[in-house]
Symmetry: C2
Subunit: 476 residues, 2 copies
């Protein structure tokens, strides 16, 4: 249960609190297309099944002969990720590039069995990174043939992969497994090393804590640590649960220990998300947030509460609203909130089967101490989905662990203040597999559209990407 909310971290960053925003079509004029892709790319069967995979195209900046920039979709509706990858739109004119955003199977509109995609274990078995990568290669191959049918050497027509977070892992893996498909990959905040045996479990929460220490006022981390016991103790009585439920405007009152567990996860998750989106300028995409939301959050809870349980809960209420209700329009907070039911389920399944990222909290961080237990994690997953996690060393076997020296044309950029940087690539791994570490930056800021408030670090990262692409395309 513990990671039920944690597992959707990647996507939560982009989540709306229900506020209507400008549509993707209005903003970036993307054309929606669908392509029939094989459900199973690798196995011969009696009646091969296909399903509709969605992809989005922008040909506004494309000039014949120009490259294709392809975004390898994440764990959610592809339009959300297209909207948050303004960098591709910003640089398309420089390269005369065609833009393509491919949705990940089992997310958004790309559900292999429609509403039944998650109804049985059998229906979910095709939700693997191996199949997803083959989808991307399949679509790219199709585009090379159809869109560029007049290109003589279509198989060398340059496609460049882009991806952020999990999408960045996929962009890198696509370049690794299908280098004939894309000429290079730009992976922003992609925790490709965040697997058992490669990154220790305490790193993630320690990085979140570091962000709060750096950007929050003195005592912030201490107060957050103190709060766990206060909440837990208060929740031992009905009166206490009612008080928290009312003060924090929960949509449904806490009823017992299980609800409290959910509440604690919800809270952890908010801290994590605040750290990830701790951008240096206000963001206003889905949930309006101030610049440096961690700082603003911390500003609200720096009183001393040692003998003031009620005061702490009340102050936290105001602080949490920075994240949950900055506009003041939200009526209540649903701590079980599933913004997009299928996406959360699919992602949780992926985290259970392949993407097992070790996480634990220790005395060194501001979270409730909790060990990492692969066996327990795997068993909990088994109870949920009826399948066993792949073996812990699966990622090392499937994607090379840290031994990536034989690859080429890959960039891994990390926001050094992004919790997921704990699983990132921090050193150049070959002559053309590069790491770019962006000081003071949160999660995948370099893939966002340029902003007047961008600092030199972010501008530098984007220049680095542009320069690399030019090299890959023999433009320099």
């Amino acid at each position: 249960m513990c990671f039920k909310m944690f597992v959707s971290l990647f996507l939560m960053v982009f989540l709306s609190n229900g506020i209507q925003v400008e549509t993707l079509e209005q903003k970036y004029s993307l054309e929606t297309r669908y392509i029939e892709v094989p459900l199973d790319h690798f196995t011969a069967i009696a009646a091969p099944k296909f399903f509709k995979l969605r992809y989005l195209i922008n040909a506004k900046y494309h000039v014949k002969g120009g490259p294709v920039f392809v975004y390898t979709g994440n764990e959610g509706d592809i339009s959300i990720f297209a909207q948050n990858t303004g960098f591709m739109f910003d640089i398309a004119p420089v390269f005369n590039a065609l833009l393509v955003f491919i949705e990940h199977r089992y997310y958004g509109q790309s559900l292999p069995f429609g509403n039944g995609s998650f109804s049985t274990t059998e229906n979910m078995r095709y939700l693997t990174t191996t199949q997803a990568l083959a989808d991307f290669a399949f679509v790219i191959e199709y585009l090379k043939k159809s869109f560029f049918e007049n290109v003589i050497s279509y198989d060398t027509h340059p496609f460049v992969a882009f991806g952020g977070s999990y999408g960045g892992m996929l962009a890198a893996w696509l370049r690794m497994k299908y280098p004939y498909s894309v000429i290079g990959s730009i992976s922003s905040s992609a925790p490709v090393f965040y697997f058992p045996g490669m990154t220790s479990c305490d790193q993630f929460y320690e990085k979140v804590t570091t962000v709060f220490e750096k950007y929050g006022r003195e005592q912030c981390v201490k107060t957050i640590k103190l709060a766990w016991d206060v909440i837990i103790n208060l929740s031992k009585t009905k009166l206490g649960m009612d008080f928290i439920s009312t003060t924090w405007k929960l949509c449904r009152k806490l009823k017992g220990p299980e609800d409290v567990e959910i509440l604690l996860n919800w809270l952890s998750n908010i801290y994590v998300n605040l750290a990830m989106v701790n951008y240096h300028y206000p963001t206003d995409l889905y949930a309006p947030l101030p610049a440096y939301p961690v700082k603003v959050f911390c500003d609200k809870i720096t009183t001393s509460y040692f003998n003031d349980t009620k005061g702490l809960i009340e102050h936290f209420s105001h602080a949490l609203e920075i994240y949950t209700n900055y506009t003041g329009k939200r009526v209540c907070n649903n701590i079980n909130s599933t913004f997009e039911e299928y996406a959360e389920l699919a992602w949780d399944y992926q985290r259970c089967t392949e993407l097992v990222m070790p996480i634990c909290s220790t005395d060194a961080d501001m979270f409730i101490t909790k060990p990492w237990d692969y066996e327990k994690y795997s068993y909990d997953c088994y109870k949920k989905y009826g399948v066993k996690s792949l073996p812990p060393d699966w990622a090392i076997l499937a994607y090379g662990g840290k031994n990536l020296k034989y690859y080429s044309n890959m960039i891994f950029s990390n926001g050094m203040m992004d919790p997921y940087s704990c699983g990132g690539v921090f050193h150049n791994l070959s002559a053309t597999v590069w790491s770019f570490n962006i000081s003071d930056a949160p999660h995948q800021i370099d893939l966002r559209n340029s902003d007047v408030a961008d600092n030199n670090y972010v501008i530098g990262a984007r220049s680095f990407h542009i320069q690399a692409i030019k090299q890959w395309l023999n433009m320099v």
Copy 2:
């Protein structure tokens, strides 16, 4: 039906005619080991299944710190391929190398469901190149951990992949998909380009014909071409079928058109095999053969037979014995012969599902004219196995087609007189993806043990390989 025998071409080369030979253990002192590997490397399921994969080890020449030379097994019992890859044994002392030969799943003793491995379509679904490559990577990872547990950076401990024919395709694909697993690959006579859209269907039989033209006496090809009609016409009557059956010592008399079809395929197959094993020195591994068996075969059939049907059948009988019964000990010829039932079935299944290699005969070759028809081929396969072939462009998508320029440390060697060279790599594809074309050479001669009769071309090829491995291991 036409390709029923053709499909086992690769392996037929090494086939015994039932004669007992020195065991592998006696000759090369290989230790047999087994390892439990996942039946499905990619999918999370309720109760993950494992099966025993066999591998053979020779540590005789190994000195601590030395590399590991690993042979990626073909479509058959791994011991046969180990016995035919003397090159690895010959050079092991130079490198202090450990030798490992890994059996391919569904062959030899590595049957996932034992005797039931081919009893249902469901049981056969795990027979894919994708799973086989994952097996190899799995075993290598295991060896790196177990055998070299005292090696600090085990994940960079150098393994070099070797493979001939289909095993050579796998060695190359292993390097392509798992470059962190092996530092380089040596693929001999590996038709990695022999797929729809990459190699035209007439190339294979044309190359066989070229071999007979070059090594056979004048009129040989003409006589072989003439013989088809003679056999077909003669087989139209019971008398004719009986005559052929008796003269060619068939174990079972020909009964009708279906048997005749099998006979014609058996004959085609012998021509193909003769061309493949047309070594310049006598080979005496399973079936003793003279040097240049194509020449010896042709010497027997160069009389003029235009009005002598019986004479032609009789002379062919003697000629065929060069291949079928050089020692004179064989009692009869089984044209349905399945040397190793499972291997033939497994290979036929692979040729039906993934490894669809277009083959046709035209007026330009010495075979019966027959077009290539992917749809028909696929339909025939469907009738046999109840599964559809993967799409024709599958190999381009899965293994990059001819666009291999982003890879490194790969060698593709071709015997220029090997029929399978038609699907080989003939040009260097990157700074370290090399082609080495061995003049006048048949199928995968460079992987055989050195012989006093080796010519300079073969010696050159082996020196090339040794030099490359030294470079990969930073020994030069």
